[in-house]
């Protein structure tokens, strides 16, 4: 009993002490975000605000999540005691890993931030470890919530499809100061950033320290590179009949390679569709693609690529090809970008308005703008391009399509041509939006632009003079500009 009593007092005092320390190591971030209107790409949608609590790092830098700075017009750091408001800018951002590094805009701000107690990055933790989630209430009081690491997995916390190491922590959080993301500490060091909280399950998701460490290291480079990717699609080999057909022995694991992206690290290493991936860096993969990770239990194989090694490292991969074992070396690089980018944050969409036809380049974010059921509600031909880009890649860097038809004298009769893919204009193949702009710049001899489409009718025509006049009247009616050819 006596020892228990002491323990409690010790905990209470250390809690109080920690709270006081922590307040000097964290800072509020307030950002105003404004994204482009997907169907009217010359304008932005309404701005909205996000607030978060961020971690102060050495050299007057602040770490928070990428969600806080996506399409940000204005970022401000605010100290908990209300003394300082410091406008800041982004040093480096990774949307896939959901991390952003900020620094003050002014020398004064840098000086002020330098007086904070910077956090070191903690070492990787273990299952069962205790962590502390930091919040600052509106009145400036620090609130620490203790949690326990329940499991470790790879998860996509922001951009779908990009999985990174993630801790799941069991904690009973209060909602205080409505923060988008919070710092999580262990032993007074920064363990990770909270990206979501489920009050139903009392489960918190945290970006793991290995990812943060790799991100910060990369951020020191002149040009931020990002996390590598092997460039393969895989599927499980849990189906016993499938295994028999693959001649996989019953005691082993292995992942079936369904796709190899051209020009990817996997392609250059000689991996082929139909191979079975049995090990990465000597670690064997089970039938679902999991391996035994030190201190983490079972982990999905993608962490062995993303978050374990920087771009440029060479790793060994064990394969089975037609039942025979094979080892290859892969030099890690960024996944090659296909013609339809998965995300376009901080990139203003390229577009052209010509005579009332609005042309854009297809991206996954455009399709997602059709709502929650976009996978069934978005136009079928654009969905098909997104699902099978290999059928559209030839001769293209981006997929240009008519995203809207503004009713004008030049577009009379074309009102139904929404979402049609453009192949040629005035005889020139359209590889991307800049090539579309260039193709329209040439005035054709009979004064009529010819557009070849992937649809019915195959060819439509725009009167050059009429569409130029329409363009001017659209500007007069409030369109700020007719095109954007850079991002």
């Amino acid at each position: 009993m006596k020892s228990f009593f002491t323990l409690t007092i010790v905990l209470a005092t250390s809690f109080g002490a920690m709270a006081k320390d922590v307040a000097d190591s964290v800072i509020r971030v307030a950002s105003t975000l404004q994204s482009y209107n997907p169907s009217q790409p010359w304008e932005k949608t309404s701005p909205h605000k996000r607030r978060a609590l961020a971690a102060v790092l050495p050299n007057s830098q602040v770490l928070t999540t990428a969600e806080m700075v996506t399409n940000a017009n204005f970022i401000q750091l605010e100290s908990a005691n209300g003394e300082h408001q410091i406008p800041a800018r982004v040093v480096a951002v990774d949307y896939e890993a959901n991390l952003a590094l900020l620094t003050p805009n002014s020398d004064q701000g840098i000086k002020t931030l330098g007086q904070f107690k910077a956090l070191q990055i903690a070492s990787p933790a273990h299952l069962g470890d205790t962590v502390n989630i930091v919040q600052i209430e509106d009145n400036g009081m620090t609130l620490i919530t203790e949690g326990r690491i329940q499991s470790v997995d790879v998860a996509a916390s922001f951009v779908p499809g990009h999985f990174f190491l993630n801790y799941q922590v069991k904690a009973s959080m209060q909602s205080a100061a409505n923060s988008f993301t919070l710092p999580v500490l262990k032993d007074d060091k920064l363990l990770g950033l909270l990206t979501s909280y489920s009050s139903k399950d009392q489960l918190v998701e945290i970006i793991a320290p290995e990812i943060i460490t790799a991100f910060l290291k990369d951020a020191k480079n002149h040009v931020y590179q990002g996390f590598p990717s092997l460039g393969i699609g895989t599927t499980r080999t849990t189906d016993t009949h499938f295994r028999d057909w693959l001649q996989l022995s019953s005691d082993k694991g292995g992942l079936f390679v369904t796709r190899v992206l051209p020009n990817s690290a996997a392609a250059l290493a000689g991996i082929k569709k139909g191979d079975v991936l049995t090990s990465i860096s000597g670690k064997p993969l089970d039938r679902r693609g999991y391996y035994q990770a030190n201190g983490y239990g079972q982990l999905f194989w993608s962490h062995l690529i993303r978050g374990s090694h920087p771009i440029g490292s060479t790793i060994k991969l064990g394969l089975l090809r037609h039942g025979k074992p094979l080892e290859v070396s892969a030099t890690l690089k960024r996944a090659p970008e296909g013609i339809i980018p998965s995300h376009t944050y901080d990139k203003a969409p390229r577009f052209l308005v010509k005579g009332g036809l609005v042309f854009q380049e297809l991206s996954k974010s455009y399709l997602q703008a059709f709502g929650e059921n976009w996978a069934t509600r978005a136009p079928l031909n654009l969905l098909d391009a997104h699902n099978h880009p290999e059928d559209y890649e030839k001769g293209r860097k981006r997929l240009v399509f008519i995203s809207a038809v503004i009713p004008t004298p030049a577009t009379l009769g074309y009102e139904s041509l929404n979402s049609v893919i453009v192949e040629q204009v005035n005889g020139q193949e359209i590889q991307d939006l800049p090539s579309l702009i260039a193709a329209f710049k040439t005035t054709p001899e009979n004064g009529i632009h010819t557009l070849k489409l992937d649809g019915q009718p195959e060819t439509i025509y725009l009167d050059s003079k009429v569409s130029d006049t329409v363009d001017q009247s659209l500007l007069a009616r409030g369109l700020p500009y007719l095109s954007r050819d850079t991002q």
Binding site: D239, H241, H388, L412, I460, Y461
Partner: protein, 499 residues
């Protein structure tokens, strides 16, 4: 009886003439004669009771749901009743009741046209109806003229009459097949469930067959007008219904001035753009994408594809609508600045049935190792709510892109009947089959042969469209699995390859 009916009408007419000269005859006599003539035709308008068996596309080895309904029909000739196809589709037993009698007379379906929602019935024993007068098919009524609808709609058991005017004459989809549009006449007389198949009368003649309504609007009922009825009756004269012929052309309106300039068209020049020609159709040997169709059978086609027939502006397809497979059509068109004129022979286009709701057919299917494969069609789409993007694309481009030429059937994996032989495969439900053992699938018979060869391979490799790996069925243990699955799931017949 027929003679008496005409006489009665003449009497009424002459009575009206006398009114001007002499004192009017008694009201009672006038009214009795009028109601007598009206009542005389009531018996020729019959109540049709149908017991049906609706095929089950969701669980195709099942017998289907027993269902039924009632509608209206009318006598147009000796033992010849006209009604809607949707009244008698999937019928197993048809009973006809005469107005004023409760006796039910067995009948059977002689001809059915699902593409224009019409059907002909005959009684097993016509004698009780032998003395009844036939209803004569008239002509298309004028806008605003009065019509009356007679039938057996909901709200009572006995004959009902409603009255209204002709509201609109238009070219609209016929809901029964979901894929065909023809001339319709819209009226504001109440047309309710049960009225289907009944006559709409004007001046004692049939102006149309009541067949559908618009639920979200008020007083909006539709009837099948006489040109469509006449065509149907002519088509079945040779003993079988051959269905509508199709031009096979997709058109695009030539409104845009720049487009007109590019085709050297003056502002008032006729012609609509041929934006696509269906391969294998009536016009595929003659017309090409980019042609401008300027006249059809001598009728000038305007820039939105309309022509003028008897003072009415209608879609140019109305010319085809009145013709039959084997008939000739003269097409005038412009290609590369040259005016051309060719005659084509119309034919039907069977692959288009992919988009029509099928009736009275047992669903085709194939089961192997608990994997259920069914050929894609409209019924399957509705039953399984398919939303795989590749399947959606195959469905929408089946005719347009000529997919039908290589793949008569697009087989869909609709179910996995769980069993150790297929336990990992449920996640692939809803995909189309690309190939089996490396052979691209063309139709269900071929797929059946590939899955049931004389010498089975060690593994059956089934590749699905857009999926990441082949589905593997081992030969070893397959027949035991099939036996197990057939017993467990009640799928007593492993396949139905024809209908």
């Amino acid at each position: 009886m027929k003679v008496l009916f005409t006489c009665a009408t003449a009497l009424v007419g002459s009575l009206h003439a006398q009114d001007a000269v002499k004192a009017p005859p008694t009201q009672d006599h006038h009214q009795t004669t009028e109601s007598a003539s009206k009542a005389a035709i009531y018996k020729s308008i019959v109540r049709i009771e149908v017991a049906s068996q609706v095929p089950d596309y969701k669980t195709p080895w099942n017998a289907g749901r027993f269902s039924g309904g009632t509608g209206t029909g009318f006598l147009i000739g000796k033992n010849k009743f006209l009604t809607n196809a949707h009244v008698v589709s999937n019928a197993r037993r048809v009973l006809i009741t005469m107005h004023g009698s409760s006796r039910k007379h067995p009948a059977r379906v002689v001809h059915v046209a699902h593409d224009c929602d019409l059907a002909i019935l005959e009684l097993v024993d016509f004698r009780p109806f032998a003395d009844l007068s036939y209803l004569e098919i008239g002509t298309i009524p004028k806008l605003e003229s009065e019509v009356r609808v007679i039938g057996y709609p909901m709200g009572g058991e006995r004959i009902s009459v409603t009255r209204g005017v002709v509201s609109r004459i238009d070219f609209r989809p016929y809901a029964h097949s979901r894929s065909d549009s023809h001339l319709v006449v819209q009226i504001d007389a109440a047309i309710n469930p049960g009225n289907s198949g009944g006559p709409v009368l004007q001046d004692g003649k049939v102006a149309g067959v009541a067949f559908q309504g618009l639920t979200q609007a008020d007083n909006t009922g539709y009837m099948i007008p006489t040109p469509v009825i006449d065509r149907f009756l002519k088509d079945i004269e040779d003993g079988s219904y051959d269905s509508y012929a199709d031009l096979g052309v997709y058109d695009f309106a030539l409104f845009n001035p720049a487009m007109r300039k590019a085709y050297n068209l003056q502002p008032n020049d006729p012609g609509v753009l041929v934006s696509s020609v269906t391969s294998g159709s009536s016009s595929s040997d003659t017309l090409k994408e980019g042609d401008i169709l300027t006249a059809i059978d001598g009728y000038s086609v305007d820039s939105s594809g309309n022509i003028t027939i008897a003072g009415e502006r209608v879609n140019m397809n109305e010319v085809i609508e009145r013709k039959f497979a084997g008939d000739k059509v003269k097409l005038d068109f412009t290609r590369d600045g040259k005016n051309l004129s060719k005659e084509i022979t119309l034919k039907t286009f069977p692959p288009a049935s992919m988009y029509s709701v099928q009736y009275g057919k047992k669903p085709r299917y194939l089961i192997q190792g608990g994997l259920v494969f069914q050929p894609l069609n409209r019924n399957l789409y509705a039953a399984h709510k398919l939303n795989n993007p590749r399947v959606r694309r195959l469905f929408s481009e089946y005719v347009k892109e000529g997919i039908y030429k290589e793949r008569k059937d697009i087989l869909i994996l609709t179910r996995v009947l769980d069993d150790p032989i297929n336990s990992a495969l449920s996640k692939y439900i809803g995909s189309a089959v690309k190939s089996i053992n490396g052979v691209d699938i063309t139709d269900i018979h071929q797929a059946h042969e590939l899955l049931n060869p004389a010498e089975p391979p060690e593994f059956f490799e089934i590749m699905l469209e857009g999926q990441d790996r082949p589905l593997i069925l081992p030969s070893k243990g397959l027949s035991e699995a099939n036996q197990r699955i057939s017993e467990n799931y009640g799928a007593h017949k492993a396949n139905n390859l024809t209908n």
